[in-house]
Symmetry: C2
Subunit: 165 residues, 2 copies
């Protein structure tokens, strides 16, 4: 969800500006870990309402809706590190992706336990353990790292072109 | 968790008695689906506090603690059908199994997406899709069904004998 379906950078930038008065442009954060780009991210992600407030990433909802008609889709989100997030993430999905049933949702810690054919993720730590095809969703924190065996996409339009030709 | 680590039958019997005045002995429910044994289970599992109130099943906690020192353990619980349960299940684990880290917890809908070597579960619908070794945890609802390719255990002591010889 975060950094693939839900726009964490936009809310990090908003909350960072609220705290410091300084607006960081996302382009200034390219190549930095999130915590370096926005020093208080650890505080933000443990704050109630953070995950519920995230805006959807452009074209994510409509693309997952289309994928859901052709594939067996699961939304797998690293959530258990932030106990307050689990209910918020279900509420977020209920609002933005009502076409995703409860059977299709996984809130986890490590994604090592996930078995599927294709994984779309913005973190190498999740993709590297996965047995199937791996799609790296471009985000500032991974942008300067070589994609390796993973296929990098810049946005959901590219995923649509790839998986819904 | 439910029916393996957490004692759903005991709380179903308590809530059923509170509603009807009738105490059902678990032995009367052998071979029945849970909803037949306790007609209001669907109401109970959507009631806030139900999952938080469950008592641990005998020897479950100590056995998982010992397994956790020898195996890579994940607690995988069908939870997303009951959105109010997700926070309660994390709180339950934090209370009874503080040795289980957030990386080891999966709250899901379908367990078809789970990849591991051994699955312990009380439901055929979860075990039947699993690629590894499958251990059927005996519960009244599954007691009269042939275990098939799954290995039936009556309790956590048997799991300990099997996996921690």
């Amino acid at each position: 969800m975060d950094g693939v379906l839900a726009n964490t950078y936009a809310l990090f930038a908003d909350w960072h500006e609220r705290e410091t008065g300084i607006r960081k442009d996302i382009s200034e954060t390219i190549g930095m870990p999130e915590r370096e780009a926005f020093p208080n991210t650890r505080k933000y992600v443990f704050t109630p309402s953070f995950f519920r407030q995230l805006a959807p990433i452009e074209h994510g909802i409509e693309t997952v809706k289309a994928l859901n008609e052709r594939y067996e889709v699961f939304i797998v989100s690293a959530a258990t590190e932030f106990p307050q997030s689990v209910g918020e993430k279900l509420a977020w999905l209920a609002e933005y992706m009502p076409f995703i049933g409860w059977e299709q949702v996984v809130l986890c810690g490590s994604k090592k336990i996930i078995k599927a054919d294709i994984m779309i993720d913005d973190h190498f730590k999740n993709l590297d353990h996965f047995d199937g095809k791996t799609i790296l969703f471009d985000q500032p924190h991974n942008h300067l790292k070589p994609a390796g065996r993973h296929y990098r996409v810049k946005n959901w339009q590219e995923i649509s072109d790839l998986l819904l030709p």
